[in-house]
Amino acid sequence: MRNVWIFISKYNAFFLLIIFLVISFILLVNNNSYQRASTLNSSNQLVGTAYERINNFTNYLNLGSTNDSLAAENAKLKAALKESYFNDSIVQGEVKDSVKLQQYTYIVAKIVNKSIHQKNNYITINRGSRHGIKKGMGVISSKGIVGIILNVSPNFSTIQSLLHNDTRISASVNNNIGSLIWGEGNYDSRLAILKDIPNHVSVKKGDLVTTSGYSLFPAGLEIGRITKTGIKGGDSFLDIEIQLSTDFSTLQYVYVVNNLLSGEQNELESQNKTE
């Protein structure tokens, strides 16, 4: 205890300073509105900064749920948009020509869902049986062919895309008919393979591949251009790789080909089988 007193008396100036400074400070803060407000302010600032930091941190933790709620809100808002109401109007480009009989009409449709990276890809469009779409119709885009209508509901249809293992489309190159397939080791959405072109046909890189007119599509529609050609060992058919002209990844609008004469054709062809 004695040592403490000695210490204090030795450095009395410092302790006196502390005492008088504290007294003045108390007077200052208690009696001057500016400093009082300032003290509260600075302490508030301290607390506020701490809260802000913690908030910044917890924000990250809540990012997932915040995202979910935002996405839900977005969906709600989008549902209220004009675009989310089903557009029922159908424009079928039909040309009245008395000389020629119209064989094909086109129904424009917007893609609402699609896949391109699967082994078997499908596309959903916002047109269905109410708009005259039937199972088995061909689907084309402004650049090339897209696929075949697989299933139809009143308002929607699904398309078995060209990018599907089971899709076979009759294609012609230099007036030779082959079969266009996709898959079998090639899962690039930009490439397809043309089969069944005999060896003796001369095809060059860059040759145009079109639809043959034998199947669902009108003849002469562009499918793509040949990028690679060659002969597999021992095979009597050429192995042709085609760069598709349809860009499936950016596809938005498609045309459903309505073959007005397909019913008649099918009816006739089905007689062959029954006979």
């Binding site: 100036a13 008088f20 003045s24």
Partner: protein, 171 residues
């Protein structure tokens, strides 16, 4: 002894009077504001006990505060001033070398020592005063500028006062 108290009392009254009635209205755009009253604390005798020095400094500051409506502000600055004064004097002056209770005035201590003493003490006082007045380190550069200009102003006034009441006394 009695004479010392009387002289300091008169000095106190005169300086406070000057400060609150004349110098309070003086200043250069709030940038250079003189606080001459601290000359009273500067000129207190060397042999004053620390406790009494602090008490006097505190009440001098408080008196000015009462007139300035800034209770505690000048008192705090003067407390710091007293502390700096104790340190400065203990570093530069041998207390035992005096025979008849001298004051730390210009005439006795010489010009060089006095101006150094005045500048250091005034600067510390003004630094505390203006910092506490602003009460934040926001725009500290401006506060520092005020401190420097005000210190210059105060020191010049101090020198003027000291030369007016110049008493040549040899140590």
């Amino acid at each position: 002894m009695g004479r010392v108290i009387l002289v300091n009392l008169i000095r106190f009254i005169v300086l406070i009077f000057l400060q609150v009635f004349l110098l309070k209205n003086m200043g250069y755009y709030n940038l250079a504001v003189p606080f001459l009253y601290i000359l009273f604390i500067l000129l207190l005798p060397f042999k004053i006990p620390n406790g009494l020095l602090f008490l006097l400094a505190f009440f001098t500051g408080l008196t000015v505060d009462v007139f300035y409506d800034t209770l505690g502000l000048n008192a705090a600055a003067c407390s710091v001033l007293a502390f700096v004064r104790i340190i400065f004097i203990s570093l530069t002056v041998q207390r035992d070398g005096f025979d008849n209770e001298p004051d730390p005035s210009l005439g006795i201590m010489g010009f060089r020592w006095f101006i150094f003493y005045a500048i250091i003490l005034t600067f510390s006082h003004h630094l505390i005063l203006f910092t506490f007045e602003t009460f934040s380190f926001y725009e500290f550069g401006y506060t520092l500028l005020r401190v420097i200009f005000s210190s210059l102003f105060t020191v010049i006034l101090m020198l003027l006062a000291e030369f007016i009441f110049f008493r040549k006394k040899m140590r």
